[in-house]
Symmetry: C2
Subunit: 254 residues, 2 copies
């Protein structure tokens, strides 16, 4: 049996420590193709390039690896990876390791996780990994063990069609980790504001900022488990239908 | 009782016919604030501007209306609208009318629908409207009746917290419309490819293209109903957890 084919991407760009750590975690598990953004693309959600062309360059900074940078979004990178493979379907798509967590409703804004959801749309088992540390030189040592453990499991077991995994890793020493929890996406919301500034010409501009809070107090969420030093796994789907509401809204008799 | 406050946005930009039609459909139903992208932002999904500032300009092309253009994404526009309202919460957020349909998994790529989902995240009843006609001078006459009917219903009835509505309208004459169906998001996928071109300097670039297909044959989907000349309403949620898989994956005993 030939080795599994693994497509790797992220949203922090090909030069980030996170994607190198992801690559190092799994490179002996299969044949690798890496297609990653040429610059940071955090917060790009499920954006794709429909109104502009993209460019794609072979990278030689990953030694002999089949690696490319792409001017598009993380989701574009997944599409480009599949295009470059000319019909050969990856066995696994891995995205990350993101510099910063992607629990709760942050999954919607996350380029890392949208790349994994795009993998699910393509019918390929996919996992997004995130570490709760935004710094460029974050310590990914323990995360790499998690990536290897879960990626091997997904290669062996597969995933339910239409789903991918959202994996978040606490930023603590390994001996503080309490375990791994499969759980649901918690409810929490950004309390957004804009920092209103003047440019050198005196004209107005705004930076989006805010704090993430309004967390539901429930114990069985990814937010809560992550805060309590568990690695969290949320099975994530692209069906956004609120099935409970379908029957309810039929009563409107429109 | 004061009139409801309605925030209007879209992803085709403030100059599109679709947003003007949306505005005309509901402007007598409440007090309006309009914040829309300054240029087309199709395919932006749930992207937000985290790595760059945005600008926001008062528009005078909507007569006395409280209207702004914004250099950000559709989701940025919702956040900016809420910011400009300084704590006053809209009773309703409307996005569209999109030039082109947003059924099935297209919801993930859609800036129009991501703006509505952002409204749901803010706890505000929100609706995204789309007409199956990509042309700039699409005929929105019947769509305007649909927008008015459903928007009034949502003002009166509210929506389940955590949900918004994805409304799609067929591009046929009103006498061909068979009715309105509340239904689920259908499964269908883009068969993507990239059009590989050379720029005037002989360098490679790529345009994302492809066809939307692989439609599941089920009758109870938005794709199927829309194709059969029904207006479709899909209640849409931001909880992406595949709850069925949570118990299944716990058996992995990681």
């Amino acid at each position: 049996m030939s080795k599994p084919l693994i497509l790797i991407t992220n949203d922090d760009g090909y030069q980030s420590k996170g994607i190198k750590s992801l690559l190092d975690s799994v490179k002996d598990l299969g044949r690798i193709i890496l297609v990653a953004p040429d610059r940071p693309q955090s917060g790009m959600g499920h954006a794709i390039s429909v109104n502009k062309p993209i460019r794609c360059f072979k990278l030689d900074c990953f030694s002999s690896l089949n690696a490319y940078s792409c001017t598009g979004t993380p989701v574009d990178c997944v599409k480009m990876g599949l295009f470059l493979l000319k019909g050969e379907k990856p066995d696994l798509i891995l995205s990350g390791i993101n510099h910063g967590s992607n629990v709760s409703t942050n999954i919607l804004y996350s380029g890392t996780m949208s790349a994994a959801v795009e993998g699910a749309l393509a019918g390929i088992p996919s996992v997004g990994y995130s570490l709760t540390d935004y710094s460029e030189d974050a310590d990914f040592d323990y995360s790499m063990k998690v990536v290897r453990l879960i990626s091997k499991k997904v290669i062996n077991e597969g995933l339910k069609l239409g789903t991918c995994l959202n994996v978040n890793i606490p930023n603590v020493k390994e001996d503080k980790i309490k375990g791994i929890k499969v759980c649901r996406q918690g409810k929490a919301f950004w309390d957004d504001t804009f920092d209103h500034r003047k440019d050198p010409l005196g004209k107005d501009y705004y930076w989006l900022t805010g704090s993430f809070g309004s967390k539901e107090p429930a114990p069985d969420t990814d937010i809560n488990y992550l805060e309590n030093n568990y690695v969290t796994i949320v099975p994530t789907q692209y069906d956004l239908t609120c099935h409970d509401s379908v029957e309810e809204l039929k009563k409107w008799k429109l």
